[in-house]
Symmetry: C2
Subunit: 409 residues, 2 copies
């Protein structure tokens, strides 16, 4: 498997910057720019929310206008530029034009992302001053760039992986932000991934779709789907390594998936107020889609999430959530195990809690021990077929309520 | 309209009791019995959760076996008797048999309800002692009976209404419990309603379906649907007033709906940790079902609920939740108003916040004033059709997390 690093040294053909444009209080980093030195093959997945933010609509336009080739991504925090009407769309266009003017590009070669409060217009004078400042700061400071896209995140999220091939080495690197409004509905956050491998836009899209499906699309913080969710993949080709054979493609797909999985899991680990990392491993469902629905219903259940926060082995809530998922489910066929950790050790599912429609004679203290861990692995075998799904989620704490009850102030 | 009282004096043909059977700690009331002095026409709505508790399965059997005629309802707290397998079903049967033996009935004339922790068996020795104690305590103490079915409820929920007809007067009275695992999926709680009006079982079922659809089916606390949800309607006929004409039926339907609405709203007011009562009035949707889906998505959004708790007019979260409801929705056609209180005054929707895809130039202080109220009325006009739905919900507070993180201990 590919070893994924938690840092980014550099990626050939890309320069980045994260600066303080005065969008946030206290001179925090709040605006990021990623610039490629040549046109990149680009791919994207976007939110499925029907209230799409202006930057989502504009980036979709720009990707189409340029046949999937772009040079830059600009990301602002503080305002999501969503539910902002024609004025919001015009503002997003203006930001892309400012970036284009600085870097000598066409506006259509610039993608934009925004995150922050819904329903407030972009602070344009601050951004007008911020764009040249970011351009002058371009370099390889990936950590500052990852920090500059944070909202309620408590730490920056970045990852990189190097892939050695017969034709040479290439790098994939990505940054991401959470930490609320995270639900599994295609892209569920902001993330930009860059690589110096060479591929076509359609290759990039296939790769990104495949990776997002089993990474960003498999995490739940709170069940709300953002208006701004977007993941971009930009491939510069600067390494000279081209994806040609099916083996090349598979290798890239695996490395990209490993990278996206690391970033997605980091979003869950840093979910708003999260104190526990929970893996839901659903097996034996009628099909994979059914398994995914059961996993998502459990992952978004407030009663399940608060029980995990309280360290209470109230497993009946897990079974009850599965029962209301609106898909075939039979408690008499179902088995439920709890295990500590993020992965199973030698396929040992841990403590069997429930089978034949009733609890096993497990020891309450054994279950309590597992629930006291910061990482818990839940296996639910529905006993109905071969469908399976893996979803990562976190608990619901009083800190989540505190963060979101007072987000705008 | 029918005046609904918050107390119950007596209902002809019924005796009730709420006693302490030692199921809960500290000698709290924890077991309730309702007995009719003659066979009643009975109707019920049950949870749609596929994990149905033993008392749900048994009550369904008993209603069928007796052609919709029953004499008694027994309700225990502390254990939901759900996910308890064949042993749980046998225990529920035994409880119904104990009640039947005390009262000289057939076990099939007894309905049972349970509420409490999922996955624990009923404490049978305590119930065996509790049943005769409850039988000996039968009388008109409706408040004790309502108290004896409480779990995390902070106060008993009961209501009654008297209906005057040309043929005489009859009474409808009901008790209910919340206060978590409340989601709009048919019956969403426990409630028993009795009346001394005379009707057939099929009439009772039509009446209950109609009332539940716009009352119990319109409330959301946390979006989790219980394994035990059930609402029973028992009609003794002891008043001698029969429902014969369409006018009689309409009158009863209206009175029953008013009663159920009061009990349902009381459940929301006493929702776990709730500090605010929120009315979601969705209008102009493609159809009523679409409106209901939009209302439920808003009502179950953790981000919307925490914003209400924080008193933050973060209305963008309401629009964003509507956008992910999976039904036709166009933010450019949508208007959103906020108003204080539980009802609109002379159809004044209050402060217009959002239209034409962007915020109006409303004053932030006006919105903050409304959000600081304990009751808030939200009107969302989708501008797409004539579909509408009304849903009542509450906020999500740190107290909800505290209650549910530590429920079993």
């Amino acid at each position: 498997m590919h070893e994924v690093n938690s840092t980014i040294q550099s990626v050939q053909g890309f320069r980045v910057a994260g600066i303080a444009a005065g969008l946030k209080k206290e001179n925090k980093l709040d605006f990021a720019l990623i610039l490629a030195d040549r046109p990149c093959s680009a791919a994207a997945v976007f939110t499925t929310n029907q209230v799409k933010a202006a930057p989502v609509l504009l980036s979709q336009q720009h990707l189409q206008a340029n046949g999937g080739h772009v040079r830059a991504v600009a990301i602002n925090t503080a305002s999501a530029n969503a539910a902002t009407g024609v004025a919001g769309l015009a503002n997003a266009q203006t930001v892309s034009r400012w970036v284009a003017e600085q870097a000598g590009l066409q506006p259509e070669q610039v993608l934009v992302m925004s995150t922050g409060v819904i329903g407030t217009q972009l602070p344009m004078p601050k951004l007008e001053a911020g764009v040249p400042l970011a351009y002058q700061s371009l370099g390889q400071n990936w950590e500052n760039t990852a920090r500059a896209i944070m909202t309620t995140d408590t730490r920056p999220k970045m990852a990189s992986v190097k892939v050695l091939t017969f034709a040479g080495e290439y790098t994939i690197a990505g940054i991401a932000k959470g930490a609320g409004m995270i639900a599994p509905n295609m892209a569920t956050m902001l993330s930009v991934i860059v690589t110096d491998a060479k591929m076509s836009p359609s290759q990039a899209q296939v790769m990104l779709n495949g990776a997002a499906k089993v990474s960003y699309n498999r995490i739940v913080v709170d069940g709300d789907t953002s208006t701004n969710d977007a993941v971009f993949l930009l491939a510069s080709g600067a390494s000279g390594v081209t994806l040609e054979t099916p083996t090349d493609m598979l290798q890239f797909q695996q490395a990209l998936t490993a990278l996206c999985t690391k970033l997605a899991q980091d979003i869950v680990r840093d979910g708003e107020g999260a104190t526990k990392f929970i893996t839901l491993d659903i097996q034996g469902a009628a099909d994979d889609e059914v398994a995914h629905k059961i996993a998502n219903t459990i992952a978004t259940s407030p009663l399940v999430k608060t029980a995990f926060f309280g360290g209470d082995a109230n497993w009946g809530r897990i079974v009850a959530a599965a029962g209301r998922a609106g898909v075939p489910f039979n408690p008499d066929q179902t088995r439920l195990w709890l295990s500590p950790g993020e992965e199973l050790f030698e396929d040992d599912k841990g403590l069997l809690i429930f089978e034949n429609g009733m609890p096993t004679p497990y020891k309450e203290s054994d279950a309590a021990d597992i629930m006291s861990e910061t990482s818990i692995y839940v296996t639910l075998d529905c006993g109905l077929g071969s469908g399976k799904a893996m979803v990562w989620t976190c608990d619901l704490s009083n800190q989540y309520v505190a963060i979101n009850g007072d987000y705008r102030s």
